[in-house]
Symmetry: C2
DNA sequence: CTGAAAGCGCTAACAA
DNA sequence: TTGTTAGCGCTTTCAG
């Protein structure tokens, strides 16, 4: 069995409090410090964070709920968040919910039982009702990428509408008028925002958005491919397309190859995220990219901040950070 | 403050043991069951897994240490493992170590303090010395994708050598003799295996492996691009290339586009992993793919099995599962 | 089947 | 500074 502070106390002849104090950076007489360190070394003592957690009512664990770890956008953010939190002593417990709201609710329950100190979530639904238990317990919740009704908390978003608007404007400027869009699931916040950016750009150019030109994918590769196929079938006059996430961008490209359509001669193309993929394509794709590192940094800082402030008395107003996207020029627009 | 079983006991007038028994699926008189459930509902009771963990000395948490969550091969496996373990009541604590051995050792320590019940690891180094603390504590360790010296435990691998050999044989059969390879880091197990498969195939065909034709990348996109550049520069007579992981495959393709080399006319190409990317490329890439789901399933089952068996007396011999890869035919070999 | 009591390893008053 | 003591919320004997 592993050694406990009791063993250390016995070995050194000191009291429990002294050992505990040493462990928590308190002041200990030099002579005793040496003794304690020797005992720790000798008995291979390792603090038991579980016991500590029970006592302090803080587990130093942050729960993370995401729709899909396989989604590169998620993965990039999570790696970074995990790194930042761990460097502050926090472990993360990640739950991949496969874009399933029911599973998300289960995950919330799961993490609640495990008494995580805070929750970072990229939610699939529209309402944050099921997060109440967290906020009521005084535990911080930080939303990534999507906004939720029925809940007060911090969130970090990107300017989805602006990003889509900008992309479509570029296509308009290149002279296109029949511009298709592969949008995300209708019930997802970001997808709606991006779609509305698309519409806004068209309207500003005096073009009425045509329902036939919008295909609703499901943020997956397959969904992107299907949507692309539909778009091409329904719109022989379409000369450009804007795809609104990475997985669907890849799917669309696969489909375009399948159909033998040439980019940009026959179809101008603007995709989303993953600069590397854009560079690996022929021709290089023009894409909208999101600042994943910056998102991660903001999320972590917000979380860490709330965690600290829980110690203190007052809390600051909830923040909504909105970051801007970038555009990476390729050769897919003509 | 959250309700505890004490509160439930008080509310129902029952003893602590009864509540605990109910919570753990024991037999409780029907009448009391109803009472308990009502109290739980009313007081919003949620079991505290931390306290439970302290008492039972089991946290129901599995630590996972990987080199890079951003690496799609890792991400695919981890998603699946996480899913399987969670469905058995286990949470996962993931540590991304950025292919850094020092960070891996820190992660081991980190997870040890948190008293995880088992460890799943895709190690960067060659020795498993630093995992001793785990095995000594009687906690199961399962290795993914790489084998380690100085440690006895289960592992799940793929037949790397065979996969590389097969790929190179295909190039040989197509008539190539000057075949390049972009290998992974020399100190990584899988990289060595794949390189040795490459050599084996050549030797069997009576060709002496030429050091100039082997470029050692670092399993990243950038590394793949650099290696490709070097290979082309040093070997004007090279007519085919085999790339040994996904990230480097993408990097190589980016570089090939950059250099304006045409596949397969000027260069035949076989890549690794990620069928989707292979399909999205022009022409479609021929690739070796690894069975990530199957790896995940094996890893989870091995871990779950060990966890159970810890309850019982004896333990089975350590297993090494070796899975086979597949080959997906594209149009990149001529 | 149920109640009482002990204790998992740690922290945090409080005294000394 | 250091020692003593009392729990954190749960499981688990052991009686009843």
């Amino acid at each position: 069995m592993a050694a406990t502070i009791k063993d250390i106390a016995k070995q050194t002849g000191l009291g429990l409090a002294t050992i505990s104090s040493y462990l928590n950076g308190g002041n200990v007489r030099e002579k005793n410090r040496v003794k304690i360190e020797a005992a720790i070394e000798e008995l291979h003592f390792e603090v038991n964070e579980v016991a500590r957690g029970l006592k302090t009512n803080k587990t130093k664990i942050i729960g993370i709920i995401i729709p899909e770890l396989n989604n590169i956008f998620c993965a990039e953010i999570i790696t970074e968040v995990e790194d930042l939190l761990r460097s502050h002593g926090y472990a993360t417990m990640i739950c991949d919910c496969r874009t399933d709201e029911r599973r998300e609710e289960e995950a919330v329950e799961f993490l609640l039982h495990r008494r995580v100190d805070g929750l970072i979530i990229m939610p699939s639904g529209r309402s944050g009702k099921y997060l109440e238990k967290f906020t009521k317990a005084g535990k911080p919740v930080v939303l990534i990428d999507r906004k939720l009704k029925d809940i007060d908390c911090d969130s970090v978003l990107v300017d989805n509408e602006g990003a889509a608007e900008d992309a479509v404007n570029r296509l308009l400027k290149a002279g296109h008028t029949r511009i298709g869009m592969i949008a995300g699931p209708k019930d997802i916040y970001t997808a709606q925002e991006r779609y509305s950016g698309y519409c806004k750009a068209l309207e500003q150019a005096g073009i009425r958005p045509d329902a036939k030109l919008a295909a609703w994918g499901n943020y997956t590769i397959e969904g992107g491919a299907d949507a692309m196929k539909e778009l091409v079938r329904e719109n022989p006059d379409m000369t450009a397309v804007f795809v609104s996430n990475y997985e669907m961008t890849m799917g669309a490209i696969i489909q375009i190859n399948e159909l033998g359509i040439r980019i940009p001669e026959e179809l101008s193309f603007i995709g989303f995220d993953n600069v590397e993929f854009a560079k690996a394509s022929i021709p290089k794709l023009s894409i909208v990219t999101q600042p994943t590192k910056e998102i991660a940094r903001n999320v972590s800082e917000l979380m860490l901040g709330r965690l600290e402030e829980a110690e203190e008395a007052e809390r600051k107003e909830y923040e909504t950070v909105r970051l801007t996207t970038s555009f990476v020029e390729g050769r897919s627009v003509l």
